[in-house]
């Protein structure tokens, strides 16, 4: 335990870096998955293509994707950008399906009513469809956020500092509390971000509490994080 007390500053600094890397990836993934998920939901022809490509990207192990990205993009191999991009790709892959499923869960009669009341496609999406798809999308976002935060630690293996540094350093120096501290820190920030997302969901979608069961079903526990 002494190690943790002596190194609180290091843990805190790495936690902030870790949060920054994962939050950027989560937000980017969410924003990019919205139009892709909408396309996959709206056009049957696009659905197979989009879900297959994102599924295949998700299949590639992170330690393999991390060195491939800089070659394709020309970024320096040790740059943090590679990690954020890799995490964004995995986040998109997880989110696209939730967005498509969420939009699919909106009752067709509600959509027809909105159209009958004179809503155009854009306004109908933002005012009717997106909020009603919210609970399913939020369930997907929670899964994405938690697995992104856990996955980011792999960056330490190719020399990108975050909480994963506590694993590589702890392994080399055989300091068990250091590794344990890293795991606990990752779990805590995952829990924190998850709690924030739940709170945001309650604030933005006060009607969803009654439907929480449905939202939970939206997140089938089959989704996994790529280690």
């Amino acid at each position: 335990m002494n190690w943790v007390i002596d190194n609180v500053d290091l843990i805190w600094e790495l936690t902030l870096i870790h949060l920054r890397q994962s939050v950027v990836a989560i937000i980017l993934g969410f924003v990019l998955a919205l139009p892709l998920g909408w396309l996959a939901w709206r056009y049957r022809a696009a659905r197979g293509g989009i879900l297959t490509v994102t599924g295949l990207l998700y299949t590639i192990p992170s330690l393999a994707l991390l060195p491939i990205l800089p070659v394709l993009l020309g970024t320096p191999i040790l740059s943090e950008v590679n990690l954020i991009l890799a995490l964004t790709i995995y986040a998109i892959a997880l989110m696209v399906r939730s967005v498509a499923d969420g939009l699919g869960s909106v009752d067709a009669s509600v959509r027809l009513s909105a159209t009958a009341m004179g809503y155009g496609a854009v306004r109908r999406f933002w005012v009717i469809e997106f909020p009603l798809a919210g609970p399913v999308i939020l369930a997907g976002l929670r899964v994405t956020a938690v697995s992104t935060i856990a996955l980011a630690t792999v960056g330490a293996l190719i020399g990108i500092d975050n909480l994963g540094y506590l694993f590589t350093n702890g392994s080399q120096r055989r300091i068990i509390p250091e590794v344990l501290a890293g795991i606990v820190a990752v779990l805590l920030i995952a829990l924190l971000v998850d709690a924030l997302l739940i709170a945001a969901g309650r604030m933005l979608m006060p009607w969803s509490r009654a439907k929480r069961r449905r939202a939970r079903r939206g997140a089938l526990p089959l989704e996994v994080s790529v280690a």
Binding site: T52, P61, L63, I68, T153, R174, V179, I183, V186, A227
Partner: protein, 242 residues
């Protein structure tokens, strides 16, 4: 792009220097993956079927698979290796892989049962089937494709974690990525990465085929009548992990 050509040249040169030859590393990788998934399946499938059949304990299973997602597998691996000691690295690694594979397989087993129309099970019961018969003749065959989907997720997750396990000198294909980096031999790093990616995609493809084959023929015939004109083949085989 030039680097990709160099990486492919490295793969086919067969010159891995001090590292294990590629076929050996591939076999190690597959052996660790299949051994761990098999052990995890032996543990998770009975529990998953029990949860699916009785409908009890579902909330606990959901909570476990949710919490498991937040655990950094790399950290867990290092922790267990340090706790077990260097001499027992393979055991520590396999325990990590098994722990990681269990939630997906468990979820696949019970969601497979849950997805079955309750009327089918009521019909089986009213025909006089015993609970044991309902389990083996109705629930297991109908839930099989989602179970295979769970095995598929678990396998891919373990393949990814075995790659990371090269860090604790376990061998496997990850050793090229991790050993190439400090040497700045990016052809080796990229070659290793391409091999790992290819392995994952091939395994995913095999499981996609298995998943289709595991749908009972009666159900498949029914589906093709209802869905064939609408759904493209690619939509039906889209990976369950995404």
């Amino acid at each position: 792009m030039n680097l990709i050509a160099e990486a492919i040249a490295w793969i086919f040169s067969g010159d891995t220097g001090l590292l294990a030859p590629i076929p050996i590393a591939l076999l190690q990788h597959l052996a660790y993956t299949f051994a761990s998934v098999a052990v995890a399946a032996l543990i998770a499938i009975p529990f998953g079927w029990l949860i699916g059949h009785t409908g009890k304990g579902r909330d606990i299973a959901v909570a476990i698979s949710g919490a498991a997602r937040a655990i950094p597998s790399f950290g867990l691996l290092i922790l267990l290796v340090l706790l077990f000691g260097v001499l027992r690295t393979p055991e520590a690694a396999i325990i990590t892989f098994v722990l990681l594979a269990i939630p997906s397989i468990l979820a696949g087993a019970y969601t497979g049962f849950e997805a079955i129309d309750r009327k089918v099970i009521d019909a089986a019961r009213s025909m006089g089937m015993t609970e044991w018969q309902i389990l083996w003749r109705v629930e297991v065959p109908l839930g099989l494709s989602l179970l295979v989907a769970g095995l598929r997720s678990a396998t891919l997750q373990v393949v990814a974690t075995v790659t990371i396990a090269a860090y604790v000198n376990l061998g496997g294909l990850g050793q090229y990525i991790l050993s190439g980096l400090p040497l700045r031999r990016f052809d080796i790093v990229l070659g290793g990465a391409l091999l790992v990616a290819a392995l994952a995609l091939v395994l995913d493809g095999i499981f996609a085929l298995l998943q289709r084959a595991s749908v009972p023929s009666g159900v498949r015939a029914d589906q093709s009548v209802r869905f064939a004109p609408k759904r493209s083949a690619s939509a039906r085989t889209a990976p369950a992990v995404s």
